[in-house]
């Protein structure tokens, strides 16, 4: 199966941007900040699995 890795990486990068912006807006709401930290860790796994491959 062929995958469009570049497009997937672009979407992962958008997810990360959204998560970081949400974290900034939610300053001093621990329920948002801490859950975003977990989301960012999951996004990092997407980067390791997909984004890191782009350009090889």
């Amino acid at each position: 199966m062929d995958y469009d890795i570049s497009d997937m990486a672009k979407r992962i990068s958008l997810l990360k941007k959204e998560a970081l912006e949400l974290k900034e807006k939610a300053e001093s709401i621990p329920a948002v900040e801490c859950n975003i930290d977990r989301i960012l860790a999951s996004i990092k796994m997407l980067e390791i699995n997909i984004s890191d491959i782009v350009g090889l």
Partner: protein, 443 residues
């Protein structure tokens, strides 16, 4: 034929060799820079060796990067930032998980992880469990003490990540665990080889349950080399009528290797780890198959306490065969064949304890347990082995004795004093067994 249905990530697991190497080099440069910039320990070590992150342009350059040994980690820990010391690369408030090594080879090493590291641990385990066909409809039992040792913690989260139903069998004894597995109709479990055999023994002898009747489909073993020792694997598979898969990992490293459904040997997750095999005598890096050496390993994505060119002391060799699954992750021949610091000279002969296990477990008339003792009489080493003969094989004792003597001599080049003990009289172990006793140092 590539079996992509066995791959957690078909993109990475089918990456052509040259791209895999490019990925490894790129990631190595990144993690080295990270450690150089964020850890005083790494910074001064590399500075003293005359290495700057920008110097790493080829695999040849990687060879020049100093190795880290466990003893170095011990010496910098228990200091500020407490208790991890100068290896820590993140502020303490980003550390979310503490684990430590078991201390089998000395003072335990503390292991800090961020939440990202912990996700990564589970992610690396997920590659193996998925390749072993753990799926959403599996009910997985985890019979280990959930405590400060990493053991199967990350496997627990990996199984959850895959979507399995996970049952934590923490503070329970073996009988309670077996009864819970029977009650809940579990389909898989993970344990050390010693415990897999011990559980089967307990099921038969204490509960009157034939472990084969528990309908376990797959078992993943780790923590000891037994999963890659044919005789031990055969005993486990026959006892449970299940497929047994080997897995390797370590607290300071991560879940770096595992078998797939084809059971052709241990694959190395080369996208997450750089495994180098070093000639024990010359230090030369071995790239060809068929030559044993010592593993030097880098976890390419671990950030809180990086593992860069860690001298793991595991003895491994590349396998020239490709696995039928079609993964581009290379295979190791015979798994982890021993540890450089376990290999000892007896009567002038180099001996690896795994070769003894290989012999005992290949003789079906012998029971699972054995114990080896090395002593010194005057200037002469003496090696003894205690084994248990299956009571039903009493009439074959002479033939078994001949076979055991011959095989031990063949595999180790040593003559053993062999003692037969009553069935069930040798120590049984719950987690990692200590069957090899070298008493010479104490004498």
């Amino acid at each position: 034929m590539i079996k992509t249905n066995l791959f957690w990530n078909p993109v990475i697991q089918t990456l052509p060799r040259e791209k895999m190497q490019e990925l490894q080099l790129r990631k190595f440069q990144k993690i080295l820079k990270w450690a150089y910039d964020n850890s005083k320990f790494h910074h001064s070590m590399y500075k003293n060796a005359g290495i700057e992150p920008g110097d790493i342009k080829t695999f040849q350059d990687i060879k020049e990067v100093p190795k880290v040994e466990k003893s170095m980690m011990r010496s910098i820990q228990a200091k500020d930032p407490y208790p991890y010391g100068d290896m820590l690369c993140v502020p303490l408030d980003q550390v979310t998980t503490y684990r430590q090594t078991s201390g089998t080879t000395g003072q335990p090493v503390y292991q800090p992880d961020t939440w990202q590291d912990w996700e990564w641990w589970a992610e690396s385990w997920a590659y193996w469990l998925y390749s072993q066909e753990y799926r959403k409809n599996d009910r997985v039992f985890m019979p280990f003490g959930y405590n400060v040792f990493v053991a199967f913690w990350a496997a627990h989260y990996a199984a959850e990540k895959i979507g399995c139903e996970v049952i934590p069998g923490g503070v329970m004894n073996t009988e309670q665990r077996l009864l819970k597995m029977q009650e809940l109709h579990t389909s898989a479990f993970l344990a050390t080889p010693t415990y897999v055999l011990g559980m089967a023994d307990t099921a038969r002898n204490n509960l009157g349950i034939d472990p084969r009747d528990l309908n376990i489909k797959r078992i993943t073993v780790a923590g000891e080399p037994g999963g890659s020792i044919p005789g031990t694997r055969k005993r486990m598979e026959e006892a449970w009528d299940a497929k047994v898969f080997d897995h390797v990992g370590a607290t300071e490293i991560g879940a770096w290797g595992g078998e797939c459904a084809f059971q052709s040997g241990l694959h190395v997750n080369e996208a997450f780890f750089l495994v180098e095999i070093e000639d024990v005598d010359t230090g030369e890096i071995i790239n060809e198959a068929g030559r044993k050496g010592k593993m030097v390993i880098t976890a390419l994505d671990r950030i809180a306490q990086p593992c860069i060119r860690f001298d793991a002391k595991d003895i491994i060799e590349w396998n020239k065969e490709q696995c039928e699954c079609g993964s581009s992750f290379r295979l190791l021949k015979g798994g982890v064949q021993g540890r450089a610091d376990d290999i000892t000279k007896v009567k002038g002969v180099l001996l690896s304890p795994t070769s003894i296990e290989e012999v005992v477990r290949s003789i079906p008339e012998l029971m699972d347990e054995y114990e080896v003792t090395v002593t010194k009489r005057g200037d002469i080493d003496d090696i003894s082995i205690k084994v248990e003969l299956n009571p039903e094989q009493e009439s074959n004792k002479e033939a078994v004795h001949q076979k055991l003597t011959y095989q031990l001599r063949l595999k180790t080049n040593l003559n053993f004093n062999i003692k037969y003990c009553a069935a069930g009289s040798l120590p049984r172990w719950d987690v990692k067994a200590r069957r090899f006793k070298d008493l010479r140092k104490k004498e």
